[in-house]
Each structure stands twice: as C-alpha cells, then as structure tokens.
C-alpha cells in the first residue's frame, strides 16, 4: 500500500492507505481525528470540510494520496490550547450549533469565508450564499450566519491591528 505524508494541524504524519482512501477516512481512521465528519456520499453536505494548504476542501472529495505533502488543518487544530479560535468562540456565543454534527465543517467553511471575503463589507447575504456547500438540519442557519458575521468582525479587527 502506498504511503502518504502530510502535515496535519502542524504535526508531520504519515501512514499507509489504499489508493482509493479518501482524505476524510485517512484523517478519521488512520489518524483518529474524528472531528471531521461524513454526512453524505455526493459531496453535498460539507460536514467534512477541512483546510488543505489554507483553502477549504471537502475531504470526502479528495484522495488521501492527493493531499500528500500538503498542510492540512482540521477542527482539532484550530484552538490554541484552551484558547478557542474566534470562529469557534462565535459559534458558542451565538448558539450556532445544536447536535454539533455539521459544526466542524461549518466552522472550517466559516473561516474560509472570512479569509476570502471577510472585512467590513461582509454581509448576511454573502455569508448565506457562501454557505451553499454546507447543510445544517438543526439550526435553521439563523445563528450560524450570526456567528460567522460576528467572527468576521473579530477576525478582521484582529487582522487590522496586526
């Protein structure tokens, strides 16, 4: 079986897997990082979103082998010790999750939205449109949208201060 090597949440990891192994299964099964979830088999739900080299990717749509040599960040890699990422904090603050199953993918997608479109002009309509690839069955999105907008304010505020 081929061997893949990548940096996951800042740690160099490698493992053997079949050619057909998807990145999400490599993360969950080989690395035990079960925070990334699988909600569908057609790349529609977004429960599996992680960042690969800084971009949001549906990890059910990428082979582990394709991620060979890249930098992967999963939900487990966001908080610095006890300190939550502003997007994580905002989801809690605004009750942006209920069952929590879509949440890792939503948070990873939310960060990506802010990275690409963030700043003073990010509005509700854009956030809603940008969430096109993520389904939540519990929250009705109302509080997720609020959380992303709030995290945007905090993240871009922080960026401006840097």
């Amino acid at each position: 079986m081929p061997k893949v090597t990548m940096s996951v949440n800042g740690r160099q990891v490698s493992g053997e897997c079949e050619d057909r192994t998807l990145l999400v299964h490599f993360l969950r099964e080989n690395l035990g990082l079960t925070g990334t979830h699988v909600g569908c088999d057609t790349s529609q739900c977004g429960a599996c979103v992680v960042h690969v080299d800084g971009l949001a990717v549906k990890s059910c749509t990428m082979l582990a082998a394709q991620a060979d040599g890249s930098n992967v960040t999963t939900i487990e890699g966001l908080a610095k010790g006890d300190e939550l990422h502003p997007m994580q904090a905002a989801f809690r603050e605004h009750h942006g999750l209920q069952c929590g199953f879509c949440t890792p993918g939503m948070i990873m997608a939310g960060i990506d939205i802010v990275n690409r479109k963030g700043g003073p002009n990010l509005d509700e309509k854009t956030v809603r449109e940008e969430l096109e690839g993520n389904i939540c069955r519990c929250t009705g999105y109302h509080n997720i949208v609020k959380a992303i907008l709030d995290a945007n304010a905090k993240m871009s505020g922080a960026q401006a201060a840097e």
Binding site: E18, R20, R28, G32, L33, T34, G35, T36, H37, V38, G39, C40, D41, T42, Q44, C45, A47, T74, I75, E76, L78, A79, L84, Q88, F91, R92, E93, H95, L97, Q98, C99, G100, F101, C102, T103, P104, I107, E124, K125, V127, R128, E129, L131, E132, N134, I135, C136, R137, C138, T139, G140, Y141, H142, N143, I144, V145, K146
Partner: protein, 780 residues
Amino acid sequence: MGADGLGQRVLRKEDRRFITGKSRYTDDIAVARATHAVFVRSPYAHARIRNIDASEALAMPGVHAVLTGKDFAEDKLGSLICGWMIHSKDGTPMKVGAHPSIAADTVKHVGDQVAVVIADTREQARDAAEKVAVDYEELPAVIDPVKAMEPGAPQIHPEAPNNHIFTWPIGDEAATDAAFKDAAHVVKIDVVNNRLIPNAIEPRAALAVYDEAEESYTLYNTTQNPHVARLVLSAFVGVAPEHKLRVVGPDVGGGFGSKIYVYPEETVCLWASKKVGRPVRWTAERTESFLTDAHARDHVTHAEMAFDADHRIIGFKVNTIANIGAYMQIFSSVTPTYLYGTLLSGQYDMKNIYCEVTAVYTNTNCVDAYRGAGRPEATYLLERLIEKAAREMGVDRVELRRKNFIKSFPHQTPVIMNYDSGDFDALIEKALELADYKGLPARKEEAKTRGKLRGLGFSTYIEACGLAPSAAVGSLGAGVGQWESAEVRVNPTGNVEVLTGSHSHGQGHETVFAQLIADRLGIGVENVQIVHGDTDKVQFGMGTYGSRSGPVGLNAIHKALEKVEAKAKKIAAHLMEAAEDDIVIEGGKLKVAGTDKELSFGEVSLAAYTAHNLPQGIEPGLKEGAFYDPINFTFPSGCHVCEVEVDPDTGHTEIVKFTAVDDFGNIMNPMIVEGQVHGGLTQGIGQAMFEGCIYDKETGQLLTGSYMDYCMPRAADVPSYTLGHSTTVCPSNPLGLKGCGEAGAIGSPPSVINAIIDATGSDNIAMPATPERVWRAIHG
C-alpha cells in the same frame, strides 16, 4: 437566581466538545478488532428471493460472514414491532404484517435488506457485497396508496388484504352530518401532505460488541431512546436478554424522530457480533439513509368545512389516506391517528368534527413520525382551509380566525383533547404587529413596481406534546407508558449528577437541565453533570421525541429534586437545631427563617454522607429518584406569518420575512428555545418549498435518493427569522412548561403556501412549491 438560573440565556455547557472536534458520535467510537457490516439491499420494489449465492463473496479477502434472512429466521429472532394498536371503525384490530430484520422470502421496497456482509474493513465488505448474487423474481409493485386498495392491486402482506391496515374514525359522524345540513357555506379542499425524508446530518450507525466472558452485549447506536431500544431488542426481537444488553446513545447528530425507531441494521449488528465473535460496526451511507430512514407525512386528504351565516365553523369532515410504506414502524399507526385527528380542532371552537383515516401499505420505505408527527398534517389542512374559506366567503382572514378562536380554558374539543391553556388573540395580535401587517398593501404596491408579486400568509396552530398520561395513552392502544425518570445525586463535595431518561441529540439538555439544578441548589451549571443515554447508568427512560424533554423529562428532575430538598431540610433542621418547618431554601441555601443561621447544600450533603450527626431514622446520603407521569398533554400554540415575493417570470419564491410568535409556557433558556424554533421553521419551510420524496410510480425506484435530487433548504433559501413569545403558563405540570421542539415545523408550512397563494392569486399550489409549480399556477 443568578446568571445560571431559569429563564436566562445560559451558553451551552456541551458546546466545547462539539466546536473543538472532541465530541463522540457512534461512528467515532473505537473498539479493538471491530469488523464492518455492509448490507445487500434490494434493487426492486417488490420481488421474491429465489436464491442467494454468497460463495464468491465469502471467498474474498477479509470476509468473515455473509448472513441472510434464512440465518436470522433459523435463530428464531422476532419481527420488528409497531408500538401502538389501532382498531378499525368496525372494531377489528389493525392488520400488521411481519417486519423481519433481513427479508427471507420477499422484499417489499427498494433498499430492503436481503443479506449482510461482515469483513475486516468497510471497503472489503463493500467489495464483497457486490459479489453476493441474489436471484430475484420481480413482482408487480404498487406505490400509490389509493391504487394499493383497488381490487387486483399487488398484495404486500398476506395479513392485510387489499393492503388495508385500518380505517380509523374519530368524532361524531351523525352530529357532523347534521351540522352540514344547516350550513350557510361549505368550503371544500383537497390537499396532499408531501412525503419527506428526515435527513439528520449524522447518518444512522451502530456498533455492536458481544462480550463472550459476560455473555453480554453493548450497542452504541444513533438512537433517541436507548431504553426503549433495549426493551424492543430484548422483549420482541429477542436478540439479547434485557439485563445482558447495554444500549448507549452517545452524541447523536440530530434525530427529528428518525432515530426513535429500532431499525433492522442494529438488530442485525448485535446478532452478528455474537455470530462472528467480533465487534460489528455499520454506518449508513447517505443513500442508505434516503432509502431506509423512516420517511414522513404522505397524506392525501379531502375535507369539507361548514359555516353558519355568521361565518362560525359548525362542522368539519375529513377523509385522509395515509401511506404507511411497506412495513409498520413503532409509531406509524399513531402518527396519522391520535397525533393527527385529535388536533383537527386547531385553535378553533368547533362542536362537530368527523374524521376517517385509512392506512395503507405500499411498496415504499416505512413512513413514521418526524418532527411534528401528525400535527403538521392537521395544521396544514386546517389552515389552508381557513384561508380558502375566508377568500370564498369574502371575509377578512384574520377576522375569520378571531371569530372562531377558542376564548376560554380549559376547553374540551370534540376530538379527545382538553386544552389546558392558551391565548390565541394575544398570539395573533403580536404576530400582526411584528409582521407589520398594516404595511402590507404598501409593500405589495412597491413590489409591483419591481415586477414582483408580494403576498402574506398566516397560520395558527395548537399542538399536543409531552405525550401523556400513561393510563390514557394505554387506553388508546399505546404499548408503553409515557412517564420519565430522573435521579438527582448531590455528591459529598456538593456538586451534582443528574441521571435522566431523556436523550439529547442537539437540544441542549446538559445546559437546560443543569440550569434547574443550579437555580435551586445555588451552584453554577459547571458543577452539574447530566448523565443520559446509557442504559447501564440510567435505570430507565422513555427518551426524547414529541417535545417531551421539557414538559416530562425536566419535571421528573424537578420531582426528584423536591425529594432531595425535603431530605436536606430535615438534615439542616437537625444540624441547626431548628424545627423542620422553619427551614426555607433560598438562593441555594438552607436557612432558618427569621434568623441568620444558614447552611449551603454542600455543607448539608457532606453531613449526609459523613452521617456522624443525622436525625433519627434518616438514611445517610443525599440522592433521590423519581418517575414523573404527566397528567395531561401540554399545548403549545402560535401564529406564524410568512411574507414572500414571487417572480412571475420564473416562479421563484423568496421568503422576505418570516415571523413566528409562539406560546411555550414558561421558558427555561430563551436562547435554546429560539434555536429550536429556527430549526423547526427551516424544516417546515423545507417541506413547503423544497423537499419531497419521489418514487417512480411504476417501478418504485427512489428518484430522490441523494442530496443531488432531494432539495434540502440551505442558508440562502431561508431568511433570518423574527420571533416573538406570548406566554400562558402551562397549568398541567409543576414547572409550567409546554415544549418547543416541533412548533416551527408544524406552524410554518401552511403560512408559506398561504403566502404564495396570496401573492399569485392561485390556490392551485402543492407542496413543495417549486418554481415550476408556482410558475404554472401563475400562468395557468
């Protein structure tokens, strides 16, 4: 009380694990030596299994076993059950066909399981499953419930001739007929309540572990009620004895009813784990979820309403055909009957109702309770009809509702329910204001200038939740009681564990339940641990469905807490040398009234456990359990107002504003209640505008078998909601709670459709109101 107390927007205790990826859902649980199960499923809607040849599959790498329905039958395991007996109009009991966990002779819907492959890895099991050769003799199938009852239709179960399960009546037929004779106006409607697929984002999963040393079983399962699952698996399916079976519902990623049931897959995994001597894991792919998670709704109804000259409702006649699918499930008999017919009064004072529901088997997946269960169907029918009546009679739709509202409580309806509280005028009043109803004509005019059709639709609802009381549901045919259990353990160090039979799959119990304890015992929510979802830890429970965690589950905790407080008072009185009657509990302290003497709960619990100085006859320790059996259902109610803009060129509908005003009785945590409403509204809007489960009418193939074909509401499809509350305290339980989990999905669908009708002027609109349907309605 302090910041963690009742009625406060306390942030959720449980969130940290979910937002950091540390939660543990069934598929995340690792056990050594686990194997993987993959099911072989029928590609036909109806077929006889002639032969299954597993030899090639068995020879493949990693494969441990291929098990079939024959193996299951040889081990004398039982059928899955329906939990509620319904009798037909003529007194005969409903006709229930067998529901084997693996089909042995015939398959009855696409996706029915015919074999299971157990292998070392999921991929190996999947590869081998493709090599299981099943020889089918295809049989004619029937998909449409009306056709299923016609003479000569394919027969699905020998027990149910003409596929007829029951025809259940409620109300007074003669009195209703008589009322229609006096009618000044009769309004008629035909509606279809479209079939839905629940789609919890976490797919169903099971991990079964047989322990040879103990001869015991553990099942980790995506379940909303682990104890009931254990009961069904042991007492009816017979796969393991109850005292040797532990069922754990760990973090569960949404249920909405679809995880109430005991499904074939978990039965099979438990059974197989002993057979292969290894833990067995199964996780559904989304397509399997579409094929096999219990579907919902699917009613065809004709109804007529009679009004007198003053526009008062004098009679209501309803005829409903309910498609049950290929097998009965746990609640599939009660959903279209006692959860539907009994709510046909809605918020209106009507003396005469007669309703008949006919339940029918078809070659489709099972249909059962899903968020709202029966009540969305009743509300949709009633609220479409009321608006139609207002249009036909040329009266104002708000005035017509108001004129017919129930004004005093308790109110006995003609269909069993005794509404204990409500204030429907207050709800509609507040909704009119929040939705700026007065400004509607101006907004319509303005929209016209942009070429858009603007419309507004109302819906009012009342629902019965917190299913109750046990004796009453028993007399109506229920197979179980409807109480809840709880245990409150104050530890020697003063923190508290609460064991509850309620199950959280996103509702925030860890926070809300802890708020009650924090409020009463004067500690922070972080000092309260809620233990749930594990039959080895909690003695018994009925789980969570039908919005029962608040009105039933929380009241059980309250009852246990009262016992704890009573004992603590005795101990405190003894320690402070005061009379027991003089002890008051205030701000979490036990005080001697009129003095400055006081003890904290922690001090009293330490004394209870050291037991050095207890009053005569008092046992050491401070923990109490209680079972709470409700005295009545609770009756949340509300008024929902949807405003839409339709583009006449494309038929595209946009919800520009959605206002929901609800009465949930007392509210423990407004943040969580609002979240429940947001989610419910979105599911209801999904039903109204996007979602619909479609089978090919001839072949019974599921055409909406993935997220490519089944349209789930996404963030850009729904608005940010405007919510309001108008509260009447529930008099039927000590905490005054009514339940809030389903309201959104019940109230919203008719308001959306009524809005589109208002905008387009055509009432030829069916759910889901897709752009094509709306366009056709406009352009005839």
